[in-house]
């Protein structure tokens, strides 16, 4: 896999084993340790092998066979892939692809900006920290299914959102309102969570930096851009990375809120439709392979472009954050 192992996770045990070096475990003990490690890791490897690697492999293999009405499937090479990308189904596929990318880019952008603003406010709040923390955790803890149903209710034509806005938009009735309602619901649920991740990063910034900058006469904006932003970047990057990967596989929310009506299908929804209601295992396998290759490509590009120190921030601060 192209994903580099977390730097911090790699680096720390070295120091740790260095500490351990003091007592210097003997050769026999190290063998015991290795054997123990093998047995401790075995359940994880078996579980991931059976529940992730095997089904994924099966889907990839199945994707090069066709879907006959009756009888056994025949080998068809990349026909299923061609079907999705430029065959009869291409409009459906590229619409779902465009929707997935749109939802991801728009929600992650809004969530990051909103989350940063929320984190800055939470960082400064001295009183009521616990209440704020509970409030912020609740949208995260709520099942997406419940959130979707709840927003479905609030976005009714005569619902509370229209009442507050003084509009009478039929949110589920046409393409862009339907898309925006998905974006609203997603942003509502996840930006508080992004805020928590960013807050954890903010709390690692030593306050004396700000005091020194204030003494030097730096304006609030200057302090924000030259202290806060660079130092909170690792946390920000982690939040963006994981939110992007999550948004790319969005399924529950659009499925329940719009059911894919008005061109709101995502890639994940297409895969599930193909596999279940259409019973097209081969085509569904091709779609799922395309989807996860795309997700991995995005993960790879994100890690390459926004910095290899992503995981240093992710694992490294875990300890420092207390």
């Amino acid at each position: 896999m192209t994903v580099p192992p977390p730097d911090a996770l790699r680096a720390r045990p070295r120091t740790a084993s260095g500490t351990r070096g003091r007592t210097g475990p003997g050769r026999g003990e190290r063998a015991v340790e290795r054997r123990l490690a093998f047995w401790l890791l075995l359940p994880t490897l078996v579980a991931l092998g059976l529940i992730v690697a095997y089904p994924v492999t099966r889907a990839v293999v199945r994707s090069v066979f066709d879907d006959p009405i009756r009888g056994d499937p025949d080998f068809v090479g990349f026909a299923n892939y061609a079907e999705a990308l430029w065959g009869f189904e291409r409009v459906e596929f590229w619409n779902a692809f465009a929707n997935t990318v749109l939802f991801t880019v728009v929600t992650v952008t809004i969530e990051t900006l909103l989350g940063l603003a929320m984190a800055l406010v939470m960082h400064r709040a001295f009183r009521g920290r616990g209440i704020v923390r509970v409030a912020v955790l609740l949208p995260w803890a709520l099942p997406t299914a419940v959130s979707a149903v709840m927003w479905g209710w609030m976005l009714q034509p005569d619902g509370v959102v229209n009442a507050l806005l003084g509009t009478d938009i039929v949110w589920g009735g046409s393409e862009w309102p339907a898309k925006w309602s998905i974006i609203f619901a997603e942003v509502w649920k996840t930006s508080p969570f992004v805020a928590l991740l960013i807050l954890a990063g903010l709390q690692t910034i030593p306050p004396h930096l700000y005091e020194a900058a204030a003494i030097d006469g730096a304006s609030a904006w200057k302090r924000f851009t030259s202290i806060t932003l660079p130092l909170v970047k690792p946390a920000l990057v982690v939040a963006v990375l994981f939110r992007t990967l999550d948004a790319l596989r969005m399924y529950d929310l659009p499925q329940i809120l719009t059911g894919g009506a008005n061109n709101t299908d995502t890639l994940s929804m297409l895969v599930v439709q193909a596999a279940t209601s259409e019973l097209r295992q081969g085509y569904g396998g091709a779609l799922s392979t395309i989807t996860f290759l795309f997700v991995f490509l995005c993960a790879f590009l994100l890690i390459r472009t926004i910095g290899a120190n992503v995981f240093a921030g992710f694992g490294g601060e875990g300890g420092a954050r207390r």
């Binding site: 490690a37 889907a59 616990g130 709840m150 329940i256």
Partner: protein, 305 residues
């Protein structure tokens, strides 16, 4: 609830380091409120409102009778429990769904934790070759989109007669829960002092003894936090369940709730949907109130989801 106020008070007093760091600003702040602190206070108010208003609306709507449900009044003129009766009586049988979800989430949590604790301990504490490979595998599987396994699992489970069985949801849930649990636990295990384990070894414990007698009891809070995160994830799972659980008898709450919506296109039972939403949310609110500090810590350790 008493507990909640207790932890809020505790949270009100930040860690010593922050307090020390904050004194300069705190002293300045004791003077009449500056414009800056007004902005912060306003921001906090907006933030809390933003997070809680939809919950409030769900709760209020659940108390409105059929005549009032579309009124958009901030409080029902005649609060009624008719929606709750609709949820648990009649054709909805939401009680089954709650029971199913509890069974599925508890089984997932139990199994995933046993596997993840051993893996997390090995990754955090033991020296062996291939450590980075295992980490990479776990990380990679955390990035897998759930749909990549839906198609083949649906087919496999149909062949095995697992459709509508609890294990058809528990087993795939473990694949989502494991990477999260392993990352959080590895972080927790690594933070524990080495000296204790060494002392145990000197006193004649082998690695196994040191693990089970010294490290595991010490790690209990971290393990509990991780279990809580896994429980949330399992309770909230929808994708796999919606595919492999077809009848009401095996639907978890997420699927059952979404199904209320799908039945009739024009007259959706919004009152009972909101009541069902409240029923699903209340246990989560209680858990969040009780464990908010732990959850935040666990989330920071895992860095995702």
């Amino acid at each position: 609830m008493g507990n909640a106020t207790g932890s809020t008070a505790a949270a009100g007093a930040p860690a010593p380091a922050r307090r020390r760091g904050g004194t300069a600003t705190a002293r300045r702040r004791r003077a009449p409120m500056t414009w800056e602190s007004w902005v912060i206070a306003g921001g906090i108010l907006l933030l809390v409102l933003y997070c809680l208003a939809p919950f409030y609306w769900m709760f209020v709507s659940s108390l409105k009778g059929p005549g009032e449900i579309t009124d958009n009044s901030l409080w029902p003129a005649a609060p009624t429990l008719v929606n709750y009766r609709g949820v648990f009586g009649g054709e909805n049988h939401f009680g089954y769904a709650v029971r199913n979800s509890i069974i599925i989430a508890v089984a997932t949590t139990g199994l995933a934790m046993v596997i993840a604790v051993s893996c997390g301990y090995a990754l955090a504490r033991l020296r062996f070759r291939g450590r980075n490979l295992v980490l990479g595998l776990v990380l990679a599987s955390s990035m897998f989109p759930g749909v990549a396994i839906v198609t083949p699992l649906y087919q496999l489970f149909s062949d095995w007669g697992w459709i509508d069985q609890y294990q058809a949801m528990v087993v795939p849930n473990i694949s989502f829960a494991l990477p999260l649990a392993i990352f959080v636990l590895t972080t927790f295990f690594r933070e524990m002092p080495w000296e204790l384990e060494e002392a145990a070894r000197v006193d004649g414990c082998g690695p196994v003894g040191a693990f089970s007698r010294v490290i595991l009891p010490l790690a209990a809070p971290g393990v509990a936090t991780t279990a809580l995160l896994v429980f949330f994830a399992a309770w909230n799972e929808y994708l796999i369940s919606s595919v492999v659980s077809i009848t009401l008898a095996s639907n978890p709450v997420t699927v059952a709730l979404a199904k209320f919506a799908g039945d009739t296109e024009f007259q959706q039972p919004f009152g009972s949907q909101m009541a069902a939403g409240v029923v699903v949310t209340v246990p989560l609110i209680v858990l969040v109130l009780l464990f908010q500090r732990r959850i935040v810590r666990g989330l920071s350790a895992g860095g995702f989801r």
